[in-house]
């Protein structure tokens, strides 16, 4: 296994690990802000996976230049750019809603936000 392919696999394993840790946090944490953090973590993992989906070993950034001969796929990078901004937007809103919700219920514990059910 070359260094590049090692990088390739470790990239996806790290990313998947981040997603799984994030999901675990989402499922088991009680504090709404920790859940927000867990989501951000998972988001990062997902973004890495997006990057991975267009990644080729031994290639340069997709900026056309006389010296560049082979590039990685620009599309996933564009997607990641978009996805990051969306992630920021969602996180901003989530935090606001989460903070205000926990002010309303008197605690950041998501288990206490069960007025609506059944």
């Amino acid at each position: 296994m070359t260094a590049q392919s090692l990088f390739y696999w470790s990239l996806v394993v790290t990313a998947a690990g981040l997603v799984l840790i994030g999901l675990w946090g989402v499922l088991t944490r009680k504090n709404i802000l920790r859940i927000a953090l867990a989501f951000t973590l998972a988001d990062t993992g997902v973004n890495l996976i997006l990057v991975w989906s267009g990644f080729l070993p031994n290639r340069s950034a997709p900026i056309v230049d006389a010296s560049v001969t082979s590039m990685v796929d620009p599309l996933p990078q564009a997607l990641v750019l978009t996805s990051i901004v969306i992630g920021v937007a969602v996180a901003a809103l989530f935090v606001v809603v989460g903070v205000l919700a926990s002010r309303k219920s008197g605690s950041a514990d998501v288990r206490r936000m069960k007025e609506l059910r059944w």
Partner: protein
């Protein structure tokens, strides 16, 4: 250019509004309306250009290409014909709700416009990442609007929506990555190119995302909480724009998913439909009920995606989703708890139309789609068909309960007349328009009942029954005003019913008649409970009928399961054997002359249905005629006993009605000429006397304001004519010669003995003797005995009620004295349809069977002659007595202190009740509450899933994902 305007104008509006509202709310509203109107016009132009209004091919489309180059490099939006129709709804809903938002949260306008843009974008998106962007806009705006609305649980609703949207984001992007990694493309069409292990991953990820987003069971939880927690305006806008967009987007994506056999969608949908609707039975908040209904439609979408393809799929989905969105939108807009609306008159109607629409009641548009869709299921997917049918019935139950709970709040008049009328007209227009899709056509060319004679009898019965109820509508009070309209519609539908040429037509007219009557009943003061029961049982019989018709592919020549379903439908409609509950609750609650119509006329539709099934079967008989006859006999007996013990005039009549219909069943079950003669004879007879009785009851209620026996009595003095007509009807239904009732019994007994069905005969005879108990109770409880001072002001019933009664009483006399007029017509008709047994022989006035004779004319002459003689003899033989006051009786040498104290009414047949006490008390009420309890338990079991903890919903999604993975790997 129009294409771009149609989609992006709201966005420009949103951007402009981000700056304007702080400055000038008015200007910003003007901008919004301008942009929206212009966009709406653009969409309408597009829809015309695409021929969407033609409805023939909804998948025609134009492409709006964006960026540079063409897909897969750039992104296209595909504007489909069906999509433009949905877009019109979205625009219209946004325009309608804008001013409500302007009132509550003026600064939310950019968000509303952004939501519309996102909905439009998602609706037309062809790129998977592009869809993601629009999905995110939708989620964010939804969360934002919810958090900013003025309702109690908004934070919780917002948090749950946010949690779910977070998970959806992750799953969706993973799917995007895997898709791109394995195909190198991001168009939706590329989904079909994925293969191997990646296919499974993409499929499970996207299916989980879709099921979560459309809120289909089992991933409904967050949607329920969201609908319940958010304000009704937000929920309304959401369901008409975003929810609709997501559903139609899902409809677009589902067939593309690399999932192998799409039937799995149908199974998820069918199971989800049953379970979620079970849980829906337990919902009480209006938002939650709408949530469950949304879930039902989401499940329907899954079923459609799994079982249908091509143009039919598109049409079904578009119609179901668009109109359910409209319905939900209207319900949310109307049921705005923040304004504490009070419903009355047209307000109730306005509220009812969307409910009927959601429940798929004809002739509203969803009906056509549901009918065609269910027909499709019936022809190839029986198990799914039954599940869907059951789910839809459950949905109807809670929708109607919801409505009855809402309409209980009566109050000041609301000026909703124009909007109500407009809503009804619009829906009817839409319905007519929808029929352009080739979804089975109405057929009046050849009736399902070939025999013109039989047909004409029923035509006549329905027409006359309706007409005789109409004069009485002039006497009505307050909110009962408008029931005449629904009576007329129901009656008109019934009158046409015998001419129906196929199952669709029959079902359509049947449901129109039933639900027009439901609306009519709802006009009664304090009728909500009665309306609910009627609506539920009407739905039950409607769905059974639908099931039967569809399983036999629209024809009435049926046997086996369809025939059984239809028979049960008829029995429910007639209130037989336990289902009498609805009669007993509905008739007392119905306003004015409507009970007369329901009991006298409308119940005969069930007779017609049974006749139709029988005449189309090979041996001109009903399946299990003996069972039906037994059901009839036992109902006749049980109904009679219950009627005797009933404490209320109208309730007694309701029980009596059920009981008398039992005789018709006995006759029909016989499948012999004599039996059918008896059945049709009794059908006519029952119509006559029951209408007369209920019209009399309407008069009594009108003059005294009560129908409780304990408050009535002695009215003969005040209402002699009503009494006279009631007396004639009573003598007739007690089968005492010489009036008409004896004929039906005589024919029936002869028929039963001819076929040797002696046990049925005995039960029937016993029931007819028990009928004396209630016939006297009725006369005495209302008209005889002591007049209560409470009713001293009562007058004779008004003429519009009396004249029909007089006509009916005359009909009873004619039929009683000269039954041969009818029999001479009826017997030859019945001889032709291939029934077994011998026909009665008619010689002049004499009717002969192999064993018995009956000369009604001579009996009539004898009775009248003797009575006349006795009368005259008394008259000329001595002094005429004087009338003395009602209290002047031999009362232990005293004048009784008050009329109420000497009026024997309470517990009239107590000894009889005591004698009956050895019977176990099997109340139908208890059985039904047992059923109810069971369903509640099941519902509770299901909804225990929805714990209210947002993380649980996330766990649901992930578990669903895992199960899908296991299933798909096992299956592939």
């Amino acid at each position: 250019m129009v294409k771009a305007l149609a989609i992006f104008l709201p966005l420009l509006g949103a951007f402009i509004n981000a700056w304007l509202p702080g400055k000038s709310p008015k200007a910003s509203r003007v901008v919004s309306y301008l942009m929206l109107t212009a966009g709406l016009i653009a969409v309408i132009m597009l829809s015309i250009q695409l021929g969407a209004w033609n409805l023939r091919d909804l998948s025609d489309s134009v492409i709006l290409s964006t960026g540079v180059g063409s897909p897969p490099l750039s992104i296209n939006l595909e504007i489909t014909a069906g999509g433009t129709l949905a877009a019109i709804v979205m625009y219209a809903a946004t325009i309608f709700s804008l001013h409500r938002f302007a009132l509550t949260t003026p600064k939310s306008q950019p968000l509303i416009l952004a939501l519309l843009t996102a909905s439009l974008g998602l609706l037309f998106a062809t790129d998977i990442f592009n869809s993601f962007v629009f999905l995110e806009i939708g989620s964010i705006v939804t969360i934002g609007l919810t958090a900013a609305c003025k309702c109690g649980s908004r934070w919780e609703a917002a948090i749950k929506a946010a949690l779910v949207s977070g998970l959806v984001t992750i799953l969706y992007l993973l799917a995007v990555a895997v898709l791109y990694r394995s195909t190198g493309m991001l168009t939706l069409a590329a989904l079909g190119n994925v293969s191997g292990a990646s296919a499974v991953i993409v499929a499970i990820l996207l299916l989980t995302v879709i099921v979560t987003e459309i809120k289909a069971f089992p991933l409904t939880g967050w949607g329920l909480d969201f609908y319940q927690g958010t304000s009704s305006i937000v929920a309304g806008l959401y369901s008409a724009t975003w929810s609709l967009a997501v559903l139609l987007w899902a409809a677009k994506v589902l067939p593309l998913l690399p999932i192998g056999n799409p039937i799995i969608y149908a199974w998820i949908g069918a199971a989800g439909l049953v379970f979620s609707q079970l849980a829906g039975l337990r919902a009480s908040s209006s938002g939650r009920i709408m949530g469950y209904s949304t879930s039902a439609y989401a499940s329907l979408l899954l079923v459609a995606a799994g079982t249908t393809t091509g143009a039919f799929y598109t049409q079904t989905v578009i119609v179901l989703m668009i109109f359910s969105s409209i319905a939900k939108f209207s319900l949310f807009m109307l049921g705005n708890p923040e304004k504490k609306d009070q419903w009355s008159g047209f307000g109730t109607l306005l509220f009812l139309v969307p409910i009927l629409l959601l429940a798929g009641i004809p002739p509203l548009p969803i009906f056509w789609a549901k009918f065609a869709f269910l027909a499709h299921l019936a022809s190839g997917f029986p198990v799914i068909f039954y599940a869907v049918l059951a789910g839809l019935l459950l949905e109807a139950v809670y929708l109607f309960r919801f409505w009855s709970a809402r309409s209980e709040k009566t109050g000041e008049k609301s000026a909703k007349r124009p909007s109500a009328v407009a809503a009804v007209l619009l829906m009817l227009l839409a319905s007519v328009w929808i029929t352009r899709m080739s979804w089975g056509a109405l057929d009046f060319s050849g009736s399902i009942i070939e025999s013109a004679g039989l047909r004409n009898i029923f035509h006549g019965l329905f027409a006359i029954g309706t007409l005789l109820c109409l004069p009485g509508v002039f006497n009505r009070i307050g909110r009962e005003k408008s029931y005449w309209f629904w009576l007329l519609i129901s009656g008109a539908a019934l009158t046409i019913l015998p001419a129906a040429g196929n199952g669709l037509t029959f079902y359509l007219l049947w449901e129109i008649s039933a639900f027009a009557a439901v609306i009519g009943v709802s006009k009664g003061t304090a009728a909500s409970k009665g309306t609910f029961w009627y609506a539920v049982f009407a739905s039950l019989s409607g769905y059974l009928l639908l099931g039967g018709i569809l399983l036999s592919k629209g024809s009435f020549a049926m046997a086996g399961v369809p025939a059984v379903l239809i028979t049960i439908a008829a029995l429910v409609k007639m209130g037989q054997f336990g289902t009498h509950l609805w009669n007993v609750r509905t008739y007392p609650a119905a306003p004015g002359t409507l009970p007369a119509f329901l009991s006298g006329t409308s119940s005969k539709a069930a007779v017609l249905l049974l006749v139709a099934v029988a005449v189309n079967s090979s041996s001109a008989s009903l399946p299990w005629g003996r069972v039906i006859a037994w059901i009839g006999a036992l109902t006749a007996l049980g109904g009679a006993i219950l009627a005797a013990l009933a404490p209320d005039y109208k309730k007694m009549l309701a029980h009596a009605s059920v009981s008398q219909l039992g005789y018709i069943l006995m006759g029909l079950g016989l499948a012999s000429i004599l039996g059918w003669t008896a059945a049709i004879y009794h059908t006519i007879h029952h119509l006559i006397f029951k209408m007369a009785l209920f019209l009399g009851a309407a008069g009594v209620l009108y003059r005294t304001g009560t129908t409780e026996f304990n408050n009535l009595g002695g009215l003969v003095k005040k209402m002699p004519w009503t009494f006279a007509f009631t007396l004639i009807s009573v003598i007739s239904f007690a089968s005492i010669p010489p009036l008409a009732g004896f004929g039906s019994k005589w024919l029936l007994y002869n028929g039963l003995i001819e076929q040797g069905w002696l046990p049925v005969l005995i039960v029937g005879m016993f029931a007819s003797v028990v009928a004396f108990l209630y016939s006297f109770r009725l006369l005495h409880g209302v008209f005889l005995g002591q007049l209560s001072p409470k009713n001293a002001h009562a007058k004779e019933a008004p003429l519009p009620l009396l004249i029909p009664q007089a006509l009916l009483a005359m009909a009873i006399m004619v039929l009683g004295f000269k039954p041969t007029i009818l029999l001479n017509f009826l017997v030859p008709v019945l001889e032709k349809i291939g029934l077994s047994g011998l026909a009665p022989v008619i010689q002049g006035d004499m009717v002969l069977t192999t064993m018995g004779t009956w000369n009604a004319w001579m009996v009539g002459l004898m009775v009248m002659g003797l009575f006349g003689f006795a009368f005259v003899f008394y008259w000329i033989s001595g002094h005429k007595p004087k009338y003395v006051g009602q209290l002047d009786i031999g009362f232990a040498g005293e004048m009784p202190p008050s009329a109420d104290e000497v009026h024997y009414s309470n517990n009239f047949f107590r000894p009889y009740q005591r004698a009956l006490s050895f019977l176990p008390k099997i109340h139908a009420q208890k059985i039904f509450s047992g059923v109810n309890k069971t369903f509640n338990m099941l519902g509770d079991g299901v909804r225990a899933l929805f714990t209210g903890d947002g993380r649980t919903y996330l766990a649901h999604s992930l578990i669903f994902l895992l199960l899908l993975f296991v299933f798909l790997n096992g299956g592939m």
